[in-house]
Symmetry: C2
């Protein structure tokens, strides 16, 4: 009996060790990108609310400044008078509010700004982690798109075993299945749409750019997974020359 | 022509003045409660993500501590060793992580904590505003439930012209229309469900408590809107005596 319980204890220990060691950088990458996306969503909804609220005070700002980050920065940095100058107006439809009624808006703006800062910090961490774990992918795809691809596949290993056409369409599953089901147009790209190579390409070239990009990512993740020599810069250069 | 353009200018000025002056405390209350709800949603999703992430490190904490605020506080205040003691364990299934891999989690936790602080600040502002604008409603319904009722009605004026049965069901529109359409059970309360008088009541008394509460709120908002004398304390006392 004592032998059996010793065996059991030993077994438990081994199992615990196996679980402990199953933690790979995949998990960090996936968790960080999940959190970044969650923060972005929070920032968007909070900014929408702030715009509504601030419009009691100075409705002209909401109309003039469509970029969210710029809006929050202006609310934080400048008072009503300074904003009058910026907006080139000398009167507003907004109400004259007491300081105590403006302060809570500034509080919200301050917090949105904090969240934005935090995204930057998380992005830095993501880059550091990926630089060690999958430097080629990082160089070619960038931190955000690379992390989304990795999450879409489930792990670096799974991503490394995918065909480049699959990589090209990661993140476009909905459109892909709609295509298969109903014969609608097939998607040209998924997460790769957010890559600046694809964004900068002319409308007619976007599909081509996505395909070329997926090819390079295909090579990059294989090098990363099988611990080959770093050649991200070379791959990226080839792409940039082609789509100049 | 000059006369006409003068008239136009005068008219514009009057219109602008009317718009400026149409801003009532209703708008503040509605905006604050909207923002508070948005923040709460953000906190909930971020905490869910933090739980997932932290579980790589110390999965036992997620299981043991179900309260979100407590979870975040523990993550922030205590390191792994201290948490071992709290959880009464001496080993974990979680991985041993380097400091740089734990820090981004703490960053998220810190931000969630900030957002929680901010909700408190906004609640304080909400109370100050309501104390001036609708002190009786504030006393009877509390800041959060009171603000939601006001938002549900659209303004204090509209709320003051509602019947107490309508007030009782504000926030339960979906259930009410389902009742009318399909003959399902009618709802007993909407936002009032969140009031502690209803929450504390026995299950069989909840409907009765909501009705009594709605009656008092009905009186309170009329006093507030028609600028009557403050008697919130008296009304609240009557309620509390009845549901002791």
């Amino acid at each position: 009996m004592s032998k059996l319980s010793k065996l059991r204890a030993k077994n438990l220990e081994l199992a615990r060790k196996a679980v402990k060691e199953s933690v790979s950088p995949d998990l960090f990458v996936i968790n960080v990108i999940n959190n970044i996306e969650e923060l972005q969503k929070a920032i968007n909804t909070l900014t929408k609310r702030l715009r509504e609220w601030y419009s009691i005070y100075l409705p002209e700002l909401d109309k003039e400044v469509s970029d969210n980050e710029a809006f929050v920065r202006l609310v934080l940095k400048k008072d009503k008078k300074a904003l009058f100058k910026d907006l080139k107006i000398n009167n507003t439809m907004g109400a004259d509010l007491a300081k105590k009624d403006v302060e809570p808006m500034l509080l919200i703006a301050k917090n949105i700004d904090n969240l934005t800062q935090q995204i930057r910090e998380l992005e830095k961490y993501l880059e550091t982690t990926m630089k060690e774990y999958c430097p080629n992918l990082l160089t070619i795809a960038g931190a955000l798109v690379g992390a989304k691809l990795l999450r879409g596949a489930g792990s670096l290993k799974k991503l490394a075993l995918m065909r480049s056409s699959t990589i090209q369409l990661l993140g476009a599953e909905k459109a892909l299945f709609r295509h298969i089901r109903t014969g609608a147009k097939p998607p040209k790209y998924g997460y790769l749409m957010q890559h600046q190579l694809v964004q900068k390409a002319k409308k007619t070239d976007k599909g081509k750019a996505a395909r070329a990009l997926a090819d390079k990512i295909f090579i990059a993740v294989r090098i990363d997974f099988f611990k080959g020599k770093y050649m991200g810069d070379k791959l990226l250069k080839e792409l940039e020359v082609r789509f100049k």
